[in-house]
């Protein structure tokens, strides 16, 4: 299972680290938003929380070995890519629905577009380390 062990080593090590940071960042942001001003933009804040959950899932499944983790990692990276594209587009067309930014608003522009690049790199890496 050389491919299995390889998922979290080399570039995968960096990927897990950056995912960990985003799990922390999105989670804290969602926590503060929901705890202090949920009524202002419930849709945006629920999306923030959802993004945080996906980042946590991606971090854990990228770091763990096994087929199930692999599938979940692919799923979470895919959801993320769809999420950042959908929320990014929606946040630009309907600014009123997003008075306060989420990690995915403006395609992740508030986070140096890393949220847009990360799932692409994640999926490419998962493809390279796919279990046979």
């Amino acid at each position: 299972m050389a491919e299995e062990a390889a998922r979290r080593s080399g570039p995968g090590r960096v990927l897990v680290a950056v995912y960990g940071v985003f799990a922390l960042a999105a989670g804290s942001r969602a926590g503060v938003q929901i705890a202090t001003r949920f009524h202002e933009a419930p849709v945006a804040y629920v999306l923030s929380a959802f993004a945080a959950v996906v980042y946590v899932l991606a971090t854990v499944t990228l770091a763990r070995s096994g087929r199930t983790s692999y599938r979940l990692a692919v799923a979470s990276c895919t959801i993320e890519l769809i999420g950042v594209l959908a929320v990014g587009t929606y946040s630009l067309t309907d600014k009123a629905a997003f008075p306060d930014a989420t990690v995915w608003s403006g395609y992740g522009s508030g986070y140096g577009f890393v949220p847009l690049v990360l799932p692409v790199l994640g999926l490419l890496w998962l493809r390279r380390t796919a279990p046979r």
């Binding site: 080399g10 090590r13 680290a17 503060v32 202090t36």
Partner: protein
């Protein structure tokens, strides 16, 4: 928060990120040099935390919100130790890349902390 301290810290951690990237380019693993660099960065962040606690105790308040500021303050202390350990576990050039990422994230945290402090 004292602006000069934050600026020096940002320049410092960016320089250390550069050092880590050079180590990666030279195909080095995480060793004494980068662990020392992380320790130096962490020491600088501790100075910032002490300074912030002194200012807060003196009645100063972050314009952007106390809870968020405390969150960034606490977050700034955990990033480098975790990055150093996670990078140490990788016995290739990607270890230093992890450490470099830790320094870059730290720089962003300091900038955000400044924004929250000044509103």
């Amino acid at each position: 928060m004292v602006h000069a301290l934050a600026v020096s810290l940002i320049i410092g951690v960016l320089a250390l990120a550069g050092l880590a990237l050079v180590a990666a380019a030279l195909n080095r693993r995480v060793g004494v040099l980068l662990l020392g660099a992380a320790a130096v960065g962490e020491a600088g962040l501790l100075v910032q935390v002490v300074w912030a606690v002194v200012r807060l105790a003196g009645g100063a308040r972050p314009v952007g919100g106390m809870a968020i500021f405390i969150g960034y303050l606490a977050g700034s202390l955990v990033i480098l130790p975790i990055a150093a350990l996670w990078g140490l576990g990788e016995r290739s050039r990607w270890g230093p890349v992890v450490v470099a990422a830790g320094f870059l994230v730290t720089a962003v945290l300091i900038v955000r902390m400044q924004q929250v402090w000044h509103g």
